[in-house]
């Protein structure tokens, strides 16, 4: 490693709590954050860098939730991935490196996009206080065909309109760069961050709303590490919950289908937003909203980190979570991350372990917009 790992950076006390809660360890007993931290502390950092272990981590942050000494294992993984990338070692994104290619294309400053077709017939602006950051949703419809993804964007825009907001949509928006950042490609990430910040600032927007947990985390916290942001970033659930509280959006709480909620890692453990989605689901579904056993900080990851490590292990994790959702008696597992929906949708579509019938995964904006008949 170019930079030695010091005990000051890794105050690990080897208690093993990280490994006990690690979803990868639940599948593969040889994967152990504690063990790798010991290796790092014992001066075997090079072995860490060279091995596949740093790509195996889902970066779900369950470990930090459990860690009594706030050891930043995920931060170590992130920095090791960047060092590996600098040496041309990179884990390939699944789907034929599709996401990596898409992001590099988008990082081209002269790229021209036509990405607003999905918004036809809905109200949006070219300049204004609010900016709706749609992320890669318009592209996903052509990439992951098990579900419609622009339906999330449409539902979000309808809800924003219903709340009295006519947001800016921009053809100059790019992918937020989440996958590059977590795959070690800091260079592409920084380019995307710069282009997006400029595109948003050019519209005069002071508030950016996202409907994706990963876009939210990336814009709010990772962009802020790149430069001071000229705007505030909110996830759509915060607004919808606030408007429901204020009576701007009136849900009847009479949903006919049972719903449960899956906390995405980036919205939950990374950004601490647990209550807003639950408020919405209680408003929408009333008594038919049921919690799973593992919720909030204890929620389990969807099994895929930045489209890189989708394998047989992932399918077992997804099967486990979907069965947990089904165990609540719900017909719908709701999430606030389109990528969680893609990954769970992939399981339900492909049924690699066994079929799980009568369960669908939906985005919270879709559920909320349907409930309001928007």
């Amino acid at each position: 490693m170019s930079k030695p790992v010091t005990s000051a950076e890794l105050p690990c006390i080897q208690c093993n709590k990280c490994t006990h809660v690690c979803p990868q360890n639940m599948i593969d007993p040889t994967f152990s954050p504690r063990g790798y931290l010991l290796k790092a502390l014992m001066g075997e950092g090079e072995a860490l860098e060279a091995g596949p272990e740093i790509w195996q981590c889902l970066t779900c942050l369950k470990c930090r939730e459990a860690c009594p000494s706030s050891t930043d294992w995920v931060g170590l993984v992130k920095s090791l991935r960047q060092e590996a990338k600098e040496q041309d070692q990179c884990f390939e994104c699944k789907h034929g490196r599709l996401m990596q290619i898409l992001q590099r294309m988008m990082a081209n400053p002269s790229l021209k996009q036509d990405r607003l077709g999905w918004a036809e017939g809905l109200q949006y602006a070219e300049q204004g206080e609010w900016f709706y950051f749609t992320g890669c949703l318009p592209y996903f419809d052509n990439m992951f065909t098990a579900n419609s993804h622009t339906s999330i964007a449409q539902a979000t825009l309808k809800l924003l309109n219903a709340g009295g907001v006519v947001p800016v949509l921009s053809n100059d928006e790019r992918c937020c760069g989440y996958e590059c950042l977590w795959n070690g490609d800091k260079e592409t990430f920084s380019k995307l961050a710069k282009l997006n910040i400029e595109a948003i600032a050019a519209t005069g927007a002071k508030k950016v709303v996202t409907s994706c947990a990963e876009c939210f985390r990336t814009l709010k916290s990772d962009y802020a590490e790149e430069q001071e942001l000229p705007f505030e970033v909110v996830h759509s659930v915060t607004l919808i919950a606030e408007w429901a509280r204020e009576g701007k959006l009136r849900f009847k709480g009479d949903a006919e289908t049972g719903v449960t909620y899956h906390d995405p890692c980036r919205l939950g453990r990374y950004e601490g937003i647990y209550d807003a989605p639950r408020e919405i689901l209680k408003a929408v579904a009333g008594e038919r909203f049921t919690e799973m056993a593992r919720i909030k900080g204890d929620a389990i990851c969807c099994g895929v980190g930045n489209f890189s490590n989708c394998d047989a292990n992932t399918k077992f994790l997804q099967h486990d979570r979907l069965m947990e959702a089904k165990g609540t008696g719900s017909e719908v597992m709701v999430t606030t991350c389109p990528k969680c929906r893609i990954h769970y949708g992939c399981y339900l579509d492909g049924r690699p372990i066994e079929p799980i019938d009568n369960l669908v995964v939906k985005d919270i904006t879709e559920i909320a917009a349907e409930a309001l008949e928007l």
Binding site: P4, T6, S7, N16, K17, P29, M42, E44
Partner: protein, 504 residues
């Protein structure tokens, strides 16, 4: 040795048992930061049959085995010798139908006499001694997650709910519930264990409580546990629970210990707490501007004039079993008493837990020995000695558990995150124990997670005889943790091997 290990690995491969001979460094230490060197082979059996196969082969070839659950021992209990074999047990009884450690396995309940009780009928047994049958790899936290919807919980809950129930038994852990129910050796009613036989292996079921008491705290010396019946108790409602905090403030630490010790003896005569914890109030536990210091109960409790000492005791139990506590406190002029809501009590417990290890930018030193004060009336001189030895050294504070008839003191010096200070702190704890744990103070050296590498040396002659007898009965091939029977354990601080550590 290497050939033996390679042959063992080949055998495991043929038997379809997960193992590794390459990624072994992560198992060179545990939470003790002690080491005996790098092991040569790590085995991950998932069923009792696989454990049986591992033990049978090891017994036939004379290969030593170190059972290890989560490896959270702070006493070096789960370390193998250089090139040795570690058997990880946290998959036992915890896998789903697909062989993954996902979800939670089904629970079965039994009476003390061994009669199975259907889950639906559990409520009818609230007043009975009840046990849950669990796989060795299940953690207390997982068990409690399963018990919570039923309105029950584990009788003893160690502060580290992540440790496995078999590991808790092997280290004879205590925790919340210990003042009333005892340590783990007291709350296990039956266990299944894979043991060695000359040139082979066998599975035994142990139900004799006296034998179970002897096996508790055995640190894997007698075999590999695969299943246990562990005691469960009804979860008390807020209305049934009495939570209170007592404090004593005196400027002389010896006088403080005398008063507190006398109070503890008096309260034990008439109360029966489920939780009895204590800590010295210490502003060093808080970050500047910590909102907790504004808490109406905790703020004043943690406030004390400079130059004085404040001892804070936390008690929780059934209302009727704690009714006399206020009257006892009233007999001691310097002891204050206040009843607190369960929510506040939980914050206090969390603070007490934090006092064992966390402080901004610093970590507590693992591998630390505890001081077991056999008579609370000796607390004054013990506290005086602790403060005199640690004065001017690293920051730290006595904290601990009050068990019936004695108390366990952890003195956790806090080290900065540097190798040098970590080792200084570790050496300070060694000195503390050397000077305080003796007949003069009527104290004995204990370790929070069992005696670990010093199991044999710290045991009494009677205990050694018992250990040898159990070893002969359950491990005639002498393959389980043979190094723990050494009178001169080779204890090395793992920091000596930490090439990556740098001075700050």
């Amino acid at each position: 040795m290497m050939n033996l290990i390679q042959d063992f690995a080949s055998h495991l491969k043929e038997a379809g048992i997960i193992h590794t001979t390459e990624n072994v460094t992560p198992y060179a230490s545990d939470a003790s930061f002690l080491t005996l060197g790098k092991p040569g082979l790590i085995v991950f059996p998932t069923t009792e049959e696989q454990v049986l196969e591992v033990v049978r082969y090891a017994s036939e070839k004379g290969i030593a085995l170190t059972p290890r659950a989560k490896g959270s021992s702070t006493a070096g209990a789960s370390l193998a010798c250089e090139g040795g074999v570690i058997v990880i047990t946290d998959r036992l009884g915890t896998l789903n139908n697909f062989g993954r450690r996902l979800g939670l396995p089904p629970l079965h309940f039994f009476t003390a006499a061994g009669a199975e009780v259907a889950t639906a009928d559990l409520e009818a047994h609230r007043d009975d001694e009840m046990y849950a049958r669990v796989g060795a790899g299940l953690s207390t936290e997982e068990l409690d997650r399963m018990l919570q919807p039923l309105g029950w919980q584990s009788a003893v809950v160690p502060s580290s709910g992540w440790s496995t129930i078999a590991g808790n038994f092997a280290t004879n852990a205590g925790g919340n519930g210990t003042p009333k129910y005892g340590t783990f050796q007291h709350v296990i009613n039956r266990l299944r264990m894979v043991v060695s036989r000359p040139g082979g292996a066998d599975v035994v079921e142990v139900t004799d409580r006296d034998v179970i008491l002897g096996l508790g705290g055995g640190q894997g010396l007698y075999g590999i546990i695969t299943e246990l019946d562990t005691r469960v108790v009804p979860r008390l409602s807020k209305e049934e629970l009495h939570s209170s905090v007592c404090a004593c403030l005196i400027d002389d630490v010896e006088a403080l210990g005398d008063v507190v010790g006398a109070f503890m003896v008096a309260m034990e005569e008439v109360t029966k707490p489920i939780i009895a914890e204590f800590m010295m109030a210490d502003k060093g536990l808080f970050k500047a501007g910590d909102k907790l210091l504004e808490h109406p109960v905790i703020g004043p409790l943690m406030d004390y004039p400079q130059g004085s000492y404040k001892f804070v005791m936390m008690y929780q139990g059934k209302c009727e079993e704690m009714a006399q506590l206020e009257a006892v406190a009233g007999r001691f002029e310097q002891v204050s008493y206040q009843e607190v809501p369960p929510e506040t009590f939980k914050i206090l417990l969390d603070l007490r837990k934090a006092a064992t290890g966390k402080s901004p930018g610093r970590v507590a030193v693992a591998g630390f020995e505890d001081i077991y004060v056999q008579d609370p009336r000796d607390l004054g001189r013990v506290l005086k000695a602790i403060y005199s030895i640690t004065e001017g050294s690293l920051p730290g504070r006595p904290i601990g558990h009050q068990y019936t008839g004695g108390l366990v003191i952890h003195y956790r010096p806090l080290a900065a995150l540097t190798r040098a200070e970590y080792q200084t702190a570790w050496e300070l704890t060694q000195r503390l124990c050397k000077e305080i744990c003796n007949e003069r103070y009527n104290t004995v050296k204990r370790r929070e997670h069992g005696l670990g590498l010093e199991l044999y040396t710290l045991s009494s002659p009677e205990e050694r005889v018992r250990m040898k007898s159990l070893k002969e009965e359950f491990d005639p091939a002498n393959i389980f943790q043979p190094h723990l029977m050494s009178e001169t354990p080779d204890i090395r601080f793992v920091g000596e091997h930490f090439k990556g550590y740098r001075e700050a």
